[in-house]
Each structure stands twice: as C-alpha cells, then as structure tokens.
Symmetry: C2
DNA sequence: CGTAGTTTTGAGAGGCGTCAAGGAGCGTGG
DNA sequence: CCACGCTCCTTGACGCCTCTCAAAACTACG
C-alpha cells in the first residue's frame, strides 16, 4: 500500500505513556511490538484514509497533525476532530468495516499502523490492553459529547476560547508551552470544526487581540491571559 | 440499588437481534444470559444514572425512552442523545470509571443491566461478542459525528427535518410506522439536542405544517411527505 | 376545576452569515 | 533576487436567521 514502511517498537517509543501501550507491562509491551510493526508516512495535504475505504487498522499519530472530516453527498463538510501525537485515528471504521470520514495530514506526518484484528486478538489475551482499547473509544465518545455541547450551546467567542484552551492543554501534555502555539489548520478548518464561518473565526481572533487576551500573527498564537479565556468559556451569556 | 430487579434472558428476548446479543450463537447466548441477570425499572423523569456516579454497567433499553445529557458547572445543558429499545446506554462511563452524563427516562422504562467487567470477561472468550462491543462503541462515535455535522452546518429547518427522519427510521426498524410517531420529549429537549431554542423548534414545526409536510398535534407527529423532509435536509441552503 | 407545565405566536434585537475588496505570506520561476 | 501568482487572512457593510422577551392558549394532572 505504501513504500514508506518503517520498523518500529512501541516499547522504545517516547509516546508510549500517551498512546495505545499506556500502562502495559514489559511483557505485554513486547507482544504489542510484534503486532505494530510498520509506520506510514503521510505527506501534508494527503489523506491517511478516505470515506468508503475498507477498514483494517487503527492508526496512532507518531508525528505530525491530522484532521478528520466528513463530507456529505450534497457538499456539506464538517471537521470532526484534530489529532496530534499519541492520539488514535480510525475508530469510526469499525462499525461498518469501512471508514466514514477522511483523515488528512495538516503537516507531514507519520503514523503507527495497528491492524485491528490483531489488536482484538491481543486484547483477548491481555485484560489491560482490552480495557485500554475500551477506554480510548469511550474517551472519543465523551470528547464528541463535549463538542456537541460547544456546538449546541456556545456563542462564537466561547467556542473559539474553548478551542484554544483545549489545544494548548493537549500540547502542554506533550511538553509544549502552555501559552504559545502554532495553529496547524486554516481559519476555515477551525470554523468548520466550531460551526462558524472563517470570517467569524478571524473576527473573533481580532476581538481577542483587541482585548489584550492573545497575540496572533498568522498561525502563531500567544495566549497572554488564560484566565480571561476561561472566563469567556464559562460566562454563559448563552446563545 | 433498586428493588425492582427481575430475572431475564437475552435468549428469549424479542430484541435480541437489535441489542447486544446480535449475531451470537445459541451457546454464546446462554453464556450471556448468565451475565445479564437483572433488569431495572426507571420511572418517568427519574435517572438511570447521574454525572459522577461510579460506572459499573452498561444498560440496554428494554422498554421506554431515555435522554442523555451533560450539564456544566455554569448551568449549560446539552442533550447528547435519545435512546430507544435495544440501544445501549452508559459507554461514556468507561474512560474515567464514572459517568459523564445523566441518563433520564422520558417515560416509564426498563433496562437490562450488563455488568461491564463481566461483559469484558465474556468478550475475551467470544470473538463475536468482542467485535460486537467494539461495533457498538464505533457506531456511537459515528452517530456523534453526524450530530456534529448537523449542529455545525445545518439551519433550523434542516436540523428538525433530519431529526424527524432519524426518529422514524429508528422507530420503523422496531416495527413502528414510517409516517407516524409520538414524541417522547419536550420542545425544549428537542431544542437542546438540536442546538436551538424551544421557540424556534415550535416555529419550525408550524412552518412544516403550513407547508403541508407534516401534521402536528402536541406530541403526535404525522409525516405526510417524507421526500419533502429529505429534500430539506439535503437542500444545502447552508447556514 | 384550578394550577403547573408545555406549546404557540408575536415583536424586536442582535449575532453571525454573506458578499466583496484588499493585504499579507510564501513558493515558483524568470 | 525580485516578480508573480496563489492561498490564506483580515476587515467592512449589509441582511437575515434565530434568540430574547412576553403573553396567551392548550393539556395534563391532582
């Protein structure tokens, strides 16, 4: 499928405490190594998989940044999530044996390929892994619910504030700054995810800048006042 | 926890082809019977579980109708789903060992209690069950993504049309009419789910009535022109 | 038969979408 | 190295959809 296959081992991966192998014993880890044997490179702008593709594997983001999005027959388009290192992509494909969204790299990326039938086999053997797979899926469900809350009940400023806080929080968990970040996605992609138009995203960024809450220079964002952002999310001015 | 415990068997349940035991062999089914031994009655307006409750079991709706909703500290509220017979409630609890939403019966209901540790144990034994559990979780993820599409990109009429079509489709799969239904939830609950205010829900219903697409008398809805509804969903007038 | 909850409908306001134009950043090629 | 074109971003003006506030009608239930 792809010439860019690389040998790898979870046991020596610096993401192992964020990713699928979290909490496994050394013994279990080495078994997992034998299942997750390949990586795949995905160039910026190209897709890891598309809607309708046969489902065979889950993917763990090793490096880079992805978006997942669904596109309907009538041309509607919705970004359903952004995935960074250590996060799992492809859970949507299990139910119908085909993927129901596109996964697109927003920068040159690398993923670990995890053949799902082998993951299932191994998780019949190891309770720890089994439970962890369940947790990963449950976490995705809970995350989706909070996005539904955002889309269903927040106004533009609240959405963008919540979005920025979520991004830095996840980046911070990966060792990056709590206050500075580079956006890997366009204003349009942010807007699609947050249910608003790109102009509104841009205007809202400008408003935050005017209020001294953040600095923005294109894709670069510096959060000067995290508490102010938090307050905006919780202000409940309501929509 | 609840005095209303009743002995039951999946193998003799008329929902077994919709519910968890779907596709199991008779042998596997009888093993499942020994795990799912109790039902629980939930009175209209009361909750099956609340946010923060310890997670121990999944629940299959045996009869009745539920809503799940998340409530934030600042009083924001979002209905994340409506569940009818054969559907599974509680997947949100797996990740943190505590439920992250409330599940509330919209009419007197009965659920089958499925202790999750035992479901996990059994699904280590039976590939069929294991895979089915994964599918159920994946289906929930895919469903959530389509709600995100609805909330992120549709206008009020489109949302309500999509909602009605989804409801009758699920009811039809349970042997009910394709064109008539009784809403089990209030306009406010519909609005919360669809990200709009109850007045807008009401107005949109009235608009559909004026256009001759449906009849509405309180909770009773008669869909006179399914194609018109489908057209509304797909018209992509855009938001 | 009264009361609380739910639904409908109206009038007005405002947030966000739409349309449009201009600017900034960046890669490509002369 | 600069010019050029492309994509992305910003900002303004205007209009509409949906929210807000309010009141009345209807239903259910005690």
């Amino acid at each position: 499928m792809d010439a860019h296959s690389i040998k790898v081992a979870c046991s020596s991966c610096n993401l192992r405490e964020l990713c699928l192998p979290m909490g496994l014993s050394p013994d279990e880890m080495s078994k997992l190594d034998s299942v997750i044997t390949t990586r795949r490179r995905v160039k910026r702008g190209t897709s890891l998989f598309n809607t309708g593709d046969r489902f065979s594997s889950l993917y763990a983001v090793r490096s880079g940044f992805f978006k997942t999005c669904i596109t309907t027959a009538d041309g509607r388009d919705q970004v359903t999530g952004f995935q960074m290192t250590g996060e799992i992509i492809g859970l949507d494909g299990i139910v119908n044996d085909r993927h129901s969204c596109d996964a697109i790299a927003l920068e040159d990326a690398e993923v670990c390929v995890m053949p799902f039938d082998q993951v299932e086999e191994l998780s019949r053997e190891f309770t720890t892994l089994q439970h962890h797979v369940h947790k990963i899926m449950s976490r995705e469900i809970v995350r989706d619910h909070s996005v539904m809350l955002l889309l269903g009940s927040m106004r533009a400023e609240e959405r963008l504030a919540a979005f920025l806080l979520n991004l830095v929080q996840r980046l911070h968990a990966r060792g990056f700054s709590q206050s500075e970040l580079i956006l890997r996605m366009t204003r349009e992609e942010i807007g699609s995810y947050l249910g608003m138009k790109l102009e509104t995203v841009s205007r809202t960024f400008s408003k935050f800048v005017d209020e001294g809450i953040i600095d923005v220079k294109q894709r670069y964002v510096h959060i000067k006042d995290t508490d102010a952002l938090r307050q905006i999310v919780n202000q409940q001015t309501s929509k």
